[in-house]
Structure formats: structure tokens, C-alpha cells
Amino acid sequence: MAHPAPQASGPAASEQADRAGETLLSVDKVTRNFGGLSAVSNVSLQIRRGELVGLIGPNGAGKTTVFNLLTGVYPPSHGAIEFTRDDRTRDIGGMAPHRICAAGIGRTFQNIRLFKDLSVLDNVKIAMQANVPYGLFAAMFHTPKFHKAEVEIVDRSMELLGIMNLADKAGAQARNLSYGDQRHLEIARALATEPTLLLLDEPAAGMNPAETSQLTDLITSLRERFKLSILLIEHDMSLVMRICERLYVLDHGVVIASGSPDEVRRHPKVIEAYLGEEADV
């Protein structure tokens, strides 16, 4: 429950630190077909605890499809997705999205999916729903237990908003936020579900270089603070090269290269896939 609080770095944190390096997510030869066409085929990738991994590739390479498979939006046609939490490993391929979220995977969306008509604070409060300690009766009759829990939900939500630099906008309607703030709010909302693995789908899309650089720092600090492992899709190569420890390169639904940013940068297949874009890489 007290997870998002920074002081949570007690014994649990050191324990997690000890376990750094163990495999958190293991995608094994996953394929997804859409009516005869395979959007991704035979994709395998691993994420170890505490890692920050990038998933890059040209447009239409299947990156978002990988995210959708990992979060249960649709089930894989073949292959297994294994996720480990609290020493328990299970196949989450094809599990319902809300169960995958409860298992510890949070995500953001490429085409921002906030609850646009609700307040910024409500967006985060909704995401706290999994660990609410009161039942339906308390909810309907607003018992003292309810009030106590709600105060805590608001406190924790405000804390998350503070971390994402949104505290002063808590009362604003989400749709009125700037593009960058909306992306921040999506991250805050995902964090509220207390994930151990965070999937960020183009977090810097639409941001200017200054904002991107700020976001880069924020992502690294979030990883420290919440003991997160992060997988991110990004087109902004400066961001990817700066913060990712490892990269997977996807093209036409297939992993064509993986390794450290330097290795990937020099990989002939990657240069070929990006064609004229290698200057950016």
C-alpha cells in the first residue's frame, strides 16, 4: 500500500536490490496474427529486474502490438509471456488486461488515453482502485472507514502528481492539460497501480527538446524511486541512446537486433531498416 512513498526504500527495497538481475519478464517466441497477417512473429525478449530497455523500430514494425500483447489487449496467437512477481512466475499471455495490471505491469498509450473529462486528480485516484480497503457497503454509506481510506488515496495521488510536476493542476480537467502534461499524467496514472514493470509507449512524442530532456531525467529518477523496470518505445533516438541499457530493434514484426545502444547502432540490419534515417541513429 505505501509503495509510492519514497520512504518505502526500507528492507523491501534492499531485498529487491539483491534480486536485481533476475528475469522479470520473458517473452518467448510470441506471434500475433491478424487475419492471416502476422503483426509480430517469433518475438523473444527478456527484461531483468531494474533494467531500462528500449524497443525501437520503424513505423509499423509492430512495437505497439508487442505492448498490447504484454498488457492483454489481445492474446498471442503463439508463444508464451512469463512474468515474475514475488518469486511467482506465470504465463500472462492472454490474461485479461486488469489481471495483468494487478500482476504488476503498468502502461501508457501512444495515442494518449486519459479520462479526459475527469479532473487530473480523479485520473490518478481511479488507478488506485485495486488496493482500496473498503467494500461496497462502506462505499454506499460513506462509513468512517471509507473517509479514512479516501483521505489516504487523495494524499497518495497528490504525492504522485507532485512527483510528475502536476500537483498545481490537480483540479484541472485532463483534456485541458498541455500535451506534455497529459503524457506525464498518464505516467502518474500508471504508477498509481503500483507496477513493477512500466511500459511507456512513445513518452516523448510531441515534446520539444527541452521537455524531452526533462522527461529523460524524470524516467531515470522514477526507476530509482519506485524500483521499476521499464520498457519503452521511442522514436527520439537521443532519449533512447541516453537512458536505455539495452535495446531491441523490431522490423516487420521480427526482432532484427538487440544489445547495448552502441552495438545496435552499428548493426547493419538496423541501419538497413532505418535506411536514410541512420544519421539519426
Binding site: 505497439t64 498490447n68 489487449v73 489481445y74 498509450f109
Partner: protein
Amino acid sequence: MGEFAQQVINGLSLGSIYALIALGYTMVYGIIQLINFAHGDVYMVGAYVGYFSMTTLRLGFFESLLIAMVICMVLGVVIERVAYKPLRNSTRIAVLITAIGVSLLLEYTMMFFVGAAVRSYPPLPDYLTGSFQVGGVTVGNQQVLIIGVSLLLMAILQLIVRRTRVGRAMRAVSQDADAARLMGINVDNTISFTFALGSALAGAAGVLVGVYYNSINPLMGILPGLKAFVAAVFGGIGLIPGALIGGFFIGGVETFVSAAGQSLYKDAVVFGILIAILIIKPTGLLGRNVKEKV
């Protein structure tokens, strides 16, 4: 066996009417994903137009059928342009509520002008009222007329949708309206044309129902409209062959439930089928599953 064959004939004539109405539902749904609640009432208007054309204007059956189709066609297009078009970018609920509003408006405006009382349909000319025996089964000329007219109209519809330019435009818009627009198709006109086609079929169905049940009233569109919708869902909404299969199926079910002496429950059975389909295979008999894009 004779009894069974008799019920099949009865089911076919009722089913062909449902199929005619279901076609309008399914075409409109296919093209703008709207359950056009007012469709059942367009068909009611068709029945009244046919009635007045045969009584007040003293026109023959086929002329009246044609007039009903033309007037309903115009009505359908007007409804689309006035009530639905402004809501092209609204939520589905908003459009659906509007459709319900249009439906009630047609019903009660009609009631305001012609009164709520049931009217009996004018008698048909002699050559359409007789009956004949085929292997111990009585077939009414009227039934032949209903089935014949329905099948003819369906064949024409199929020709329009498959073989003409505007039919191709309809199919394109129902696949992807934005892409169709980019290819130079006038999407608004295509949608209007779809309403025109569907409403004309409903108008014809209205006259045929008047003949079949021999009575009409301003609220007559509600139940057959809903059942035709069930038929469209059963076959797979958005699919023209689905509407045909569904129409005949629902017509058959209803006929057999009545024949089994349970006519009080025939409507409940149809709605039960609807809920069952929605649970077992919401895309209908011929439908395919499509998942929302993330």
C-alpha cells in the same frame, strides 16, 4: 407433414416481410453503425401511404406499392439529413437516443393525424385473394404475392449493391468511410442513398404487412421493427445475406411457436433468441469478430 409444409409456407411469407425490413436495418448499420430505431416506423408510414393510395386515391395494389416506396424513400433521406447527419461525430448513445426520438415522433405525429384506431386494409383485387392447393397444402395468392414481391425487391437490391457504381460506393463506405472519402467517394450522398434504399424496402414491407395482417395502426412499426432488428442481428448485422437468413428464421420461429399453441409467447421467444445470440455469438451467424483498435 401437410401441417408442417403449411407452416413453412406461412413462415416464408412472414419471414420475407421481416427480411425486407431487416435489410434496411442492416444496410444502415453496415454503413454508419447506427441502430435506426425509426426504421420500423418508416415501414408504418409505408403501410399508411399504401392504405390512402388504395382508398382515397383508388389506385391499384402495385401502383400503391410503388408510391409507398417512393414516399418512404424521401422520408428516410429527410430523417437522415435532418436528424442523424448533424450527429455524425457524436457518441453512439447520442445518435441512438435521436433515433428513438425520431421513431416516437413518427408514431405520434401519425397518430395525431389519423387517430390511434386500427384500420382494416382495403381488399385486394380478386386475382390476388384466392388460394390454391399444392399437394394438400393451401397456398394463398396473397402469400405468393408477398413472397414474390419480396424476392424481386431483394434481387434488385442485390443488383444495385453488387453491380452499380453507387453500390460499390456503399460497400466502400461501410468498410472505411475515411478511406472512401479520400478515394473521391461522396460519403454523405452514399449514406443518404443507403437510407433511401432501406426506406424504400421498408415502405414496400409496410404495404405487404397491411395485406398480410389486414390491419394497420400508428404503433404497428414497433414490434415488427424490433423483430426485424433481431433478424438482422441473428444473421450478422451489417451483412445483407445475414438479414435474409435472419428474416426467414425469425418468421419461421414465430410461425411455429404460434402453431404450437403458444402464440402469447411468440414475441418473448423472439427476444429470448436475441439475448441468446448476443450471448453465444454477438456477431451473428455470418459475422466475424472485430476487436477495437488500440
